[in-house]
């Protein structure tokens, strides 16, 4: 990185660091708690944990404003929380309770938080790339100045819709930041068995989209690139692409580790642990600050799980509720 400029917004202040740490730590701890509770069978849908990958969501979402959108994946707890989605509503959703963010109908893979512009997450790989594109189209057309961060895995880049979306976003100069979380795995299959070449940034650049690679997913670097991309996009610039190389610490789906399964060993895990962003950013805080944040997070999590425990199940009549949206139409002009 180039030498910091004075008042360079891409260089974090002490406040920024506290906020980044809070977000990283919250995601880590929420998911650890999800993993801990999982064997009790209180969580009623499969979970795809982001533990180890938090820096990507946090680096991207930290500079986003509430009016900006994110389009997350089924491995979406991190993006949901980093964008400000409610913790109790998420845990209640995982518990299948009526108070969940999707009223108990979506579960872990279908989080949504319209109040902070987290779009619906999908369990079908790649499907939220074009829906995020649609949100970006709407922002441009409605002249809101808002931007959209579309999260996707390395596997999702193999779907045709990804290339269709890149092309359209570039053609129409839509304000989309494509954020690829390259954890090198689609379930248990490495990119070497799936990609003819690993030059994804080059592929994307042929659409005229600036692409950047982050080999260790340093949260400060990702945040800095996002700040610059957002500024360009708010100014009418088109899409940007970030390849964030990261590592999934736990199994593809479920709460555990899977280094005994034979498809990978723990050597890479140890390397990634040594540069764990939660610890690295935490280490830049004073002990007092860090302890205060940690304590507040533990309280927040305990309250969220208690809320989920105490919340009611959906009533039987909710089985058919919300299949179709109500008839409620007021024309809008002057957009």
């Amino acid at each position: 990185m180039s030498a910091p400029r004075p008042n360079d917004p891409t260089q974090p202040t002490a406040d920024d660091l506290r906020r980044l740490y809070r977000s990283l730590r919250l995601i880590r701890r929420v998911e650890e708690e999800v993993a801990r509770v999982y064997p009790t069978d209180k969580i009623k849908s499969p979970v795809h944990l982001s533990i180890g990958q938090e820096a990507v969501a946090v680096g991207v979402c930290d500079p986003l404003e509430t009016r900006d959108y994110v389009s997350p994946t089924y491995r979406g707890h991190a993006a949901y929380l980093a964008k400000g989605g409610s913790v109790p509503a998420m845990i209640a959703e995982l518990y299948g309770k009526a108070t969940g963010c999707a009223a108990g109908k979506g579960g872990s893979m279908h989080l949504i938080a319209p109040e902070v512009n987290v779009m619906g997450a999908s369990a079908v790989v790649g499907t939220t790339v074009p829906t995020g594109l649609g949100a970006a189209f709407a922002q441009k057309r409605l002249r809101t100045g808002a931007v959209v961060a579309v999260f996707l895995g390395d596997g999702a880049t193999e779907e045709g819709a990804f290339y269709e979306s890149l092309n359209f976003a570039a053609l129409h100069r839509l304000p989309v930041l494509f954020v690829m979380e390259n954890n090198g795995l689609a379930i248990h299959t490495g990119t070497e068995k799936r990609w003819a070449t690993d030059r994804i940034c080059e592929r994307v650049e042929t659409y005229g989209i600036p692409a950047q690679r982050f080999p260790t997913s340093d949260v400060i670097d990702i945040r800095a690139a996002t700040i610059e991309a957002i500024a360009a996009m708010r100014d009418g610039g088109g899409p940007h692409f970030l390849e964030c190389v990261t590592y999934r610490w736990r199994e593809h789906v479920g709460p555990g580790y899977d280094y005994d399964q034979g498809y990978r060993d723990d050597s890479a895990y140890k390397e990634w642990q040594a540069r764990d962003q939660v610890e690295l950013i935490g280490g830049r805080l004073t002990d007092t600050d860090r302890d205060a944040i940690d304590a507040a997070i533990e309280t927040e999590i305990a309250e969220a799980f208690a809320f989920a425990e105490d919340s009611p199940w959906p009533e039987p009549d909710r089985l058919y509720a919300d299949l179709y949206a109500d008839r409620d139409f007021t024309p809008v002009r002057g957009v």
Binding site: G104, K105, A161, E164, S165, V332
Partner: protein, 348 residues
Amino acid sequence: MTDTRTLTYVNALNEGMRQAMREDERVFLFGLDVDDHKAIQGSTKGLVEEFGAERVFTTPLSEDAMTGLAIGAAVSGMRPIHTHIRMDFLMLGMNQLVNMASKYHYMYGGAASVPMVVRSMIGKSWGQGAQHSQGLHALFMHIPGLKVVAPSNAHDAKGLMIAAVRDNNPVMFVEHRLLYPTEAFVEEAPFEVPFGKARVIREGGDVTLVGVSNMVNECLRAAELLQEEGIEATVLDPVSLIPLDYDRIARETDKTGNLIVVDNGWTCCGASAEILADLAERGTRAKMKRMGFAPTTCPTSPALEALFYPNPATIAQAAHEMLRPGKTYSPDPERAKLAYQVAFKGPF
């Protein structure tokens, strides 16, 4: 007020979209070639001139992502009309339609809704063949969360279009290309044709013919042939397939005790199968029959294509067989052809 203005189906579609776009600026119209000089057989003619390229635009050949774009735009405050020149091409957007559009409102507990219209054209005509003629509306009827409408005349084409754009759900809008030049009475002011309300187009006491899309007209033509034999047919147009007016179909079936559902699609797991299954569950005593595409792939040779679709003569023959079993009847081919001129114009 009865309107005396007639309009073609294609112009009615155009007027419906135009009025919906004037009424609400969140509405936009997109899809392959909507803004070229052919203007989707004329249905989008003049719209880019009136509303500009921001609201009326063509797309790359990317049905999958473009369907997703419509959904993403709809959940963030827009009201897209996505146009496809053939229903066959919709298959490339199936993932988004089935996994996202239909589910979005429910799967997120009502947190967001997807007001979008997906227009697609179906229909036989000169050698279109296996991949340019399919009526696949039943695939969409199967999926909870989608609505499916199939206007059989110009009046409904306009009224359903306006209702579809105002609806807060994904609406599959099925247009039959052979209907495009047909005329009906159409009011000039914007109006809605409600979903889920079947319409009796012709009343007769002997047999009930339910026709889907242009099969309404084929049924009307069959009814004329039957009349010459002293058989009176009721012709019923479901107008929308989801929601479907099961009660009205049951009532009209009870009145005659004989039902033939003629679909513009295959019978297996189709709209006709669904209607008959519902009546069977109600314990109807009516005689019932399904007609639709022959259970094979649509060929291009006219010698074979003619055998693929129900037509006024085959529909009339089926009704005749139901009412007078074993009595041979084959309508004079010239009379059957003449009947081909009939089309329903109203009143509605």
